[in-house]
Symmetry: C2
Subunit: 207 residues, 2 copies
């Protein structure tokens, strides 16, 4: 029996533990769940990072493919964007624990530290960047804007989606609308609020 099937079994075990204990599950725990001991895990995955990467890769491939497909859908742009947003939110809604993995930046990462976006998220960001670059006419600044927006949109959806998933303030559809509205410049279009009479009052905002 080649290595591959064993790897799958180990990943399955790791998966169950992560589902149960969250992304902080120890290697010992994972090994125990698989009915074996640590060194085997290390033989297969090198280090914890390798295991986690394999695990995330496995789970993200689906979501990533779905997003890729959504980005290529032949729709009006607004509909396409909503479709992508909905795809992402549906994905994280379906498997919250997995989602935790995606967003969990590796804690100990000396040297190459500092990416606020975990690898899986970065792939999504690149996907968006590519889509914007190829589909939207942005003039000379095309490359810069596409890349900045790719990251920005990803981060936006990450943070908003996280909040939505945790506190469930509304339906998924409404959340999609809220985010699409933001991207559609509704913040710019809305009128000023009729300031109810306060030029410079000495009240400090409630903390």
């Amino acid at each position: 029996m080649s290595r591959e099937p064993r790897r799958e079994q180990l990943l399955n075990a790791a998966d169950r533990v992560i589902q149960r204990d969250g992304p902080t599950a120890s290697m010992n725990a994972i090994a125990a769940e698989a009915g074996i001991t640590k060194p085997i895990l290390y033989r297969h995955f090198g280090d914890r990072n390798g295991l986690i990467s394999a695990l995330t890769e496995r789970h993200t491939s689906g979501l990533l493919a779905a997003i890729r497909a959504a980005l290529a859908e032949p729709l009006e742009r607004r509909d396409r964007v909503e479709h992508v947003l909905d795809t992402y939110l549906a994905g994280i809604e379906a498997r919250p624990q997995v989602y935790r993995l995606l967003t969990h930046p590796e804690p100990g990462d000396p040297g190459g530290v500092g990416n606020a976006l975990a690898p899986a998220l970065r792939q999504i960001a690149e996907e968006i960047t590519r889509a914007v670059q190829s589909q939207v006419d942005l003039g000379a600044d095309r490359d810069l804007l596409a890349e900045a927006w790719g990251r920005g949109i990803t981060g936006m959806v990450l943070a908003a989606g996280d909040w939505w998933l945790n506190s469930r303030p509304c339906s998924r559809t409404r959340m999609v609308q809220a985010l699409a509205d933001l991207l559609w410049g509704r913040l710019a279009a809305a009128a000023d609020r009729p300031t109810p009479a306060l030029p410079t009052p000495p009240v400090e905002p409630a903390d």
Copy 2:
């Protein structure tokens, strides 16, 4: 001598180490930098989280206040938004290592896990939420939109700012423009790209 001054000195030392070694600096290292040993740190801060919190609080208060001020600036809305963006980017540009702290969600956080935004960022998000709520007329959905947007904008600026800080693709001013443009609906306004002839070609995208 009361406890407070000592605390400050210890925080200063911790600060230097974080600047030098990043947010993964060990308690031992921090103690050594302060010329003392671990237990003292624990006496003052309880645990690592306490130290980090104290440290972030200290540094964020400035940035947070600056952002609060920027949000209250009496400008055209677009200018105000740009001002806020610039304030944030300037802040993280000035002290990159500190910024790492802000964005570093506490790794071991059993139970209440899952906030993609670190506490400091969440404060910023709340600030934005409040500003939107009080300044922009969004109709019946006001509360939902403001809250979703607060998180979303914060996440967007976090991710984009992180990328900008690491790869420095352009000046700060241009980055501010790029993000403001995104928030201003330029994604919606731009024309479709003149698809250079490809209905459904069997080429797979470069990986």
